[in-house]
């Protein structure tokens, strides 16, 4: 890894940076650093991508019909099983 005094501080701020919770000045500092440090740019890009891949693929989870039916039955709500949109 190309060493620079900013690589370590980037690690600490990584979550805040990708969540948009860092102030403008710190964001600019990180972006300036990334322009010179390929490894840090890769870390930031793959860090963001890791989170978005988990989000994207988890959004597709559905409840199997049988699971929902057994849940309603267990809760004594059998008469509402058909009400799903």
């Amino acid at each position: 890894m190309k060493k620079s005094h900013n690589c370590g501080s980037l690690l600490e701020s990584l979550s805040d940076y990708v969540d948009g919770e860092l102030g403008d000045a710190l964001c600019e500092e990180i972006e300036r650093h990334m322009a010179d440090c390929d490894n840090c740019r890769i870390v930031v890009d793959t860090f963001k991508k890791t989170i978005s891949l988990y989000q994207e693929t988890s959004e597709k989870t559905t409840i199997p019909i049988g699971v929902r039916e057994r849940l309603f039955h267990r809760l004594d709500l059998d008469d509402f099983i058909q009400k799903e949109n």
Binding site: D45, K49, L53, F80
Partner: protein, 204 residues
């Protein structure tokens, strides 16, 4: 922030045991609870048990629910406890107190392969998704639950800290560790895919 169902059920009706309102509560939140349990436990049968027990306990406790947190946060809290109970039964040897001090360390950065350029079908192939699930299971329970609530269920840091009864600082620290570890694990996986692509190119 938690995406609430279009119209949240009425607390007053829920407390009075109104069955239509309870059915709405269940339909509005069951997917989130089921997904949380699936990601925590990686076992559909265990996830179904968590789902059922969460709503059974919630319905019993509704008359005393004070509404200090949102219904969604409260349900997540019950579900997390149910999931932890199952893990404790299955792995009695591991210490599982979310409030105890962290033993995890911030993972060092060791992977510097840029795999973002891989085609979308490769990034989200069935095999890749299977790897995501395995990677999440490699996190300690403390890190896993924070990652699931914050990044998969989309709770804010504040909501996650309320659901888990942790400080926001602890949530942030654990979230960073979880994300870093998953990035490392995904990088190892995708680096292999990139190497395979390169060797395929050489052959053809």
């Amino acid at each position: 922030m938690i995406k609430e169902p279009l119209q949240e059920p009425s607390l007053q009706l829920l407390r009075s045991g109104d069955r239509t309102e309870i059915a709405r509560l269940v339909d509005g939140h069951s997917l989130n609870i089921y997904r949380l349990a699936l990601k925590m436990l990686a076992n559909p049968q265990d996830a179904e048990d968590v789902l059922q027990n969460t709503f059974l306990k919630a319905i019993q406790a509704l008359p005393t629910f004070e509404g200090r947190s949102s219904l969604a946060t409260w349900l997540y809290r019950i579900a997390v406890n149910e999931a932890l109970m199952i893990i404790r039964k299955q792995k009695p040897e591991i210490e599982l107190d979310l409030q105890s001090e962290d033993t995890d360390e911030t993972p060092a950065l060791t992977q510097f392969t840029d795999w973002c350029c891989l085609p979308e079908w490769e990034l989200v192939s069935a095999e890749a998704k299977n790897h995501f699930d395995k990677a999440i299971q490699q996190l300690s329970e403390k890190l896993r639950v924070v990652f699931i609530l914050r990044d998969i269920e989309g709770l804010s840091i504040h909501e996650t800290s309320t659901a888990l009864d942790l400080t926001e600082t602890t949530v942030k620290t654990r979230l960073l560790r979880a994300r870093l570890k998953l990035r490392e694990l995904l990088s190892v996986y995708y680096e292999e895919r990139l190497d395979m692509e390169k060797s395929d190119e050489k052959i053809s």
